[in-house]
């Protein structure tokens, strides 16, 4: 009985995992993602090549495939990308008449995970609303992707779930 229960729990976990993991054929390879409850995906969503959507919370993660990232990215190159990101965001923000709150620290995701790469992000205000934007530049196997999302301050508790979702991505 005890073993049966363990087996039951174990198999249940496996079933849950199978259910939770979604495999999406996307251009050059398949993306495997653990979509939490309330999340769906759609390709070519209003021009976004692949979108993970939480419609009740009004959040979208936009995925774009990019040309391959140089696997041996030097420190200087990383810093240059980071500088370009910051300049670009500031320019966008000045155009949108917004105000900068802060940039998140540049994060380098190490190679040991399924995906590796750079994480950029910043916080800004448009009018009274504070927005958080994060942009992942990831390599999964040999294909590079950009994953980007935008949330406002009231959705901040979703950030950890979204980040975990993105970081848990795998490829086939």
């Amino acid at each position: 009985m005890k073993y049966f229960l363990i087996f039951l729990i174990f198999s249940h976990v496996i079933v849950m995992q199978i259910e939770a993991n979604t495999t999406i054929p996307f251009n050059n390879q398949k993306i495997i993602i653990d979509l939490p409850k309330g999340w769906t995906y759609q390709q070519n969503y209003w021009g976004i090549p692949l979108a993970f959507i939480n419609s009740s919370k009004n959040i979208i993660i936009a995925v774009s495939e990019l040309a391959q990232i140089n696997p041996s990215l030097t420190e200087t190159e990383k810093q240059n990308y980071w500088a370009d990101y910051k300049l670009g965001r500031l320019a966008w923000l000045s155009q949108a008449a917004g105000n900068l709150v802060k940039f998140y620290e540049l994060e380098v995701m190490p190679k040991k995970q399924a995906v590796s790469g750079l994480v950029f992000g910043y916080v800004y205000k448009l009018g009274q609303t504070t927005f958080h934007e994060k942009s992942y530049y990831l390599t999964c196997k040999n294909v590079a992707y950009n994953l980007k999302y935008l949330i406002d301050q009231s959705q901040i508790e979703s950030m950890d779930i979204i980040d975990a979702m993105i970081r848990g991505i795998g490829c086939l």
């Binding site: 021009g47 419609s55 009004n58 810093q79 500088a83 320019a91 000045s94 934007e133 530049y137 950009n146």
Partner: protein
């Protein structure tokens, strides 16, 4: 013989004209005919001696405004003959129209491909001439077809969204349920497009630019690139668009809603600008904002049909696409600026220069049928130069307009001038152009830094902000003024390479950077400014230089015409490396942002795409 013919013709014409009665058009023909007649008798009196025509004889004639002008007999005779033939054709066309052989304004000016400002001028001329010859119905309201324009734009937008709408139909998310509703709406509109006489119905070849505007809006909002871009490219350009799209999707449940509202809002602005510049020959006031009533409607505009008006508008929009449009979109997204771009921006800077250039074209057209035209013809028929066929000054006028545009160029949109400078320029022109670009950069760096100092150092004890700002400007002028520090030969070489290698003039920029660096070192050594100030100044210079260079490198949407098919397309084009890419990696911080914001406020036509 000529005289006989001319007099005979003019007599017949006179009778004909008298029998028709009074009409403004006829008055013009009449006036011009009388002028020609006067000139014919002058030709007779001056150029014929004992039945001999004195080909190369020159005579002076007094113009109605009192000015004396020198004419050459031979060329003047040819000119009169041509003008009379032309007038004859004009009058014949007029008759045909007046007696209802053809409907008024029936001939559409279709397929007007617009590649450049000159094309726009040519079209303006063509339209004007055609309409001057054919227009009868002058009682129409100015821009009577605004509704149709919206229809056209909407139908173009809908046709773009069709694939998206279709792809949405198969899905089951909440978003897509909303989209289903839109699908039915979109389909309804598409069906309408297919029926002749319904909203948005278009004859092939007419008003095609609405597809381009649709594309412009679409490309600026619905992000994706057809090809896979590099990380670097995406960081610089893709991020912006994705931010826009994510904001739109958050805020508007349906992007079609947003896009059509952008489209019609934008159109309204352009419409107003076109109206101002083409719709009236004389306004009460003398500028866009304070124009008052129209004292003298432009008849040619009035009697153009909708599609013809749209085509002229399209020509204008071909140039503004991607600049005010994207700025307008940004304004709508952020919701901070109501409408983002407004008449002020359309009427200012580059677009205004185009209008001015076109305006000069209009002047030329008016003059063509008037005394000034005769005068200009006669003036160029000088004894030393009489074989030279007088050419219309229109191209020079465009060139000077372009030159003017980049004289205060750093306030204007950069892309068009950049390309035109390259296209039209002689070596001298290119050199002036190169200097101007460098001056533009220097002035940006100089004013941006100066304002920054005056704002940030005004309350810092021990620092005289005004003195520091003066030192800063002195320093920037010394380091960056290529006009002063470069040997003329070196400068000419750089200028040549700069335009020739566009847009890949990296070598030139590097060379320039080196020269500036040497200049900087020499200047610091000379000790003209105290060390304390120099340190602050150099830090600010780095920031301002970086911002100016960064904002000089961006993606824009460009309207191009495919030469093989003649079809207009809106394509993303990288407008880059105008002053070279960054040469420092300074701290990117609030100071950078302050300067960017300042830059946007001062140079509103600079749009970050």
């Amino acid at each position: 013989m000529l005289i006989k013919y001319c007099l005979g013709f003019s007599f017949l014409l006179l009778i004909n004209l008298q029998s028709i009665g009074s009409d403004q058009r006829l008055d013009e023909y009449w006036g011009y005919l009388q002028l020609l007649e006067d000139k014919i008798s002058e030709l007779k009196n001056n150029c014929y001696r004992e039945n001999q025509f004195l080909s190369y004889y020159e005579f002076s004639s007094v113009m109605p405004d009192g000015e004396k002008v020198l004419f050459n007999c031979n060329l003047f005779k040819d000119f009169l003959a041509k003008e009379i033939i032309k007038l004859q054709a004009d009058v014949e066309t007029f008759y045909q129209n007046a007696y209802g052989i053809k409907p008024a304004c029936s001939n559409n000016i279709t397929n007007l491909p617009i590649h450049s400002w000159e094309d726009l001028g040519q079209i303006q001329i063509a339209v004007k001439e055609k309409m001057q010859n054919e227009c009868v119905d002058v009682n129409r309201e100015l821009l009577p077809c605004f509704k149709d324009q919206l229809c056209n734009l909407n139908s173009a937008l809908f046709s773009f969204f069709e694939p998206f709408v279709n792809s949405l139909g198969t899905s089951t998310t909440t978003y897509n349920k909303a989209a289903h509703i839109w699908e039915s709406k979109a389909n309804l509109s598409l069906r309408n497009v297919l029926n002749e006489g319904s909203c948005g119905y278009r004859v092939v070849g007419e008003s095609d630019c609405f597809t381009s505007i649709g594309q412009g809006i679409y490309k600026n909002i619905v992000v994706t690139y057809d090809t896979v871009k590099s990380v670097g490219y995406f960081i610089i350009f893709g991020e912006d668009r994705m931010s826009n799209l994510l904001h739109i999707l958050r805020k508007f449940k349906n992007p079609i809603d947003f896009m059509t509202s952008v489209g019609s809002g934008f159109l309204k602005i352009v419409n107003e600008a076109v109206n101002y510049h083409f719709g009236c020959d004389q306004w009460e006031g003398d500028n866009f904002f304070n124009r008052g009533k129209c004292l003298k409607p432009a008849r040619s505009w009035e009697c153009m049909n909708c599609n013809q008006q749209l085509n002229v508008m399209c020509g204008v929009m071909g140039f503004v696409l991607g600049q005010p449009l994207s700025s307008y979109i940004m304004g709508r997204i952020s919701g901070i600026k109501s409408g983002g771009v407004d008449g002020a921006k359309i009427a200012s800077s580059q677009v205004n220069k185009i209008f001015e250039a076109v305006g000069r074209g209009k002047e030329w057209i008016k003059a063509q049928k008037s005394i000034q035209y005769l005068k200009s013809k006669a003036q160029s028929v000088s004894p030393t130069n009489f074989v030279k066929i007088p050419t219309p000054k229109i191209l020079q006028k465009y060139q000077s307009a372009v030159y003017g545009a980049f004289e205060d160029g750093f306030k204007a949109g950069k892309h068009s001038t950049l390309k035109l400078g390259y296209k039209l320029g002689t070596q001298g022109y290119r050199e002036a152009y190169f200097l101007n670009k460098m001056t533009q950069h220097r002035l940006e760096v100089s004013t941006m830094g100066k304002e920054y100092i005056l704002d940030h150092y005004k309350d810092i004890p021990g620092i005289d902000a005004k003195q520091l700002a003066d030192d800063y400007v002195k320093y920037i002028d010394k380091i960056h003024d290529v006009n002063k520090f470069l040997d003329p030969t070196v400068r000419a070489g750089l200028a040549k390479g700069y335009t020739k290698e566009l847009p890949k003039h990296g070598g030139i920029v590097e060379r320039l950077n080196e020269l500036e660096k040497a200049n900087r070192e020499a200047f610091i050594k000379s000790g003209g400014i105290g060390q304390k100030h120099i340190n602050i100044i150099m830090k600010i210079e780095e920031h301002a230089d970086q911002v100016s260079r960064y904002l000089g490198s961006r993606e824009i949407m460009e309207y191009v015409v495919d030469p093989s098919s003649g079809k207009g397309l809106v394509q993303p084009a990288r407008y880059s490396d105008e002053f070279g890419r960054k040469m420092y990696s300074p701290k990117i911080d609030e100071d950078t942002f302050w300067m960017m914001k300042w830059h946007n406020g001062i140079f509103p036509s600079e749009v970050l795409f």
